[in-house]
Amino acid sequence: MDNENTSPPLDPRLLEILVCPLTRGPLTYDREHNELISAKAGLAYPIRNGIPIMLVEEARPLAP
């Protein structure tokens, strides 16, 4: 997806609910990249068309 930065932002209500599907740990919202960061899993979940893609296989591994 090359337009992630221009995708609509995440609904703030979802940010309150969502956890990492792998670790069930908290997520932080990276506004600049429009991603949800799971620090514990080292994964960034993309947001496309305002919809969080909470699938491990779609997540971007974060550099250690």
Binding site: R24, I51, P52
Partner: protein, 252 residues
Amino acid sequence: MTEEDFTARHYGPRASAYVASAVHAQGADLDEVAALLAGRGFGRVLDLGCGGGHVSYRAAPHAGEVVAADVTPPMLDEVAREAARRNLPNITTANAAAEALPFPDADFDAVLSRFSAHHWRDFATGLRQARRVAKPGALAVFIDTTAPAAPVLDTHLQTMELLRDASHVRNYSVAEWAAELSRAGFALRGFTARRLPLDFASWTARTSTALEFRAAIRALQTGAPEAVRAHFAVAADGSFTIDTASFVAEAV
């Protein structure tokens, strides 16, 4: 390609057909869901495997918030659009697999799932995840097409389903549902069996079933034992009637 990808890619291009489908948009089972929610003052409700979003649209007027989750992103785009069109701003959407839900434990007052579980790659894990995210005492309603108990009927059904839709995993029998719900931590409070007539042309059009597979389904039906043809009420054009069930349960 993972199995989630497989389902997502299979359903992605046809998302709007599921929003428009009369089979999916109407039914006594949806009326039952609305009646179970009405007046209960539920805060947060999960529609697990929301597809075209029909459970969410019926649940939204009776809940503080509905989270519509599905493994197919284009379905969610359609649901978000349709929710806006119906002026239901309390529906949010999240792309998720039933087997690994991105929600905390004990988060939902009600968990609803309709016509989804037969696509899950791991039925038992999906049900355990549904139980995990449900608050203790939460309402759970699972609705799905079911397999008849008789093996010959079961085999014919699964074969028709797989020929029609390569992402089909399995229709479970009512007994399998009851056992797995119990194992997952749900107490069954009610059960309603129904019959759902399926029009062959629209049933295969929704999944863009290839012509050779449509022909195979028709050949299978024609050559089936009379007991099979009678159970599924197979008509001359291939239309038939499938069993469905609603399981009303409580998270315990």
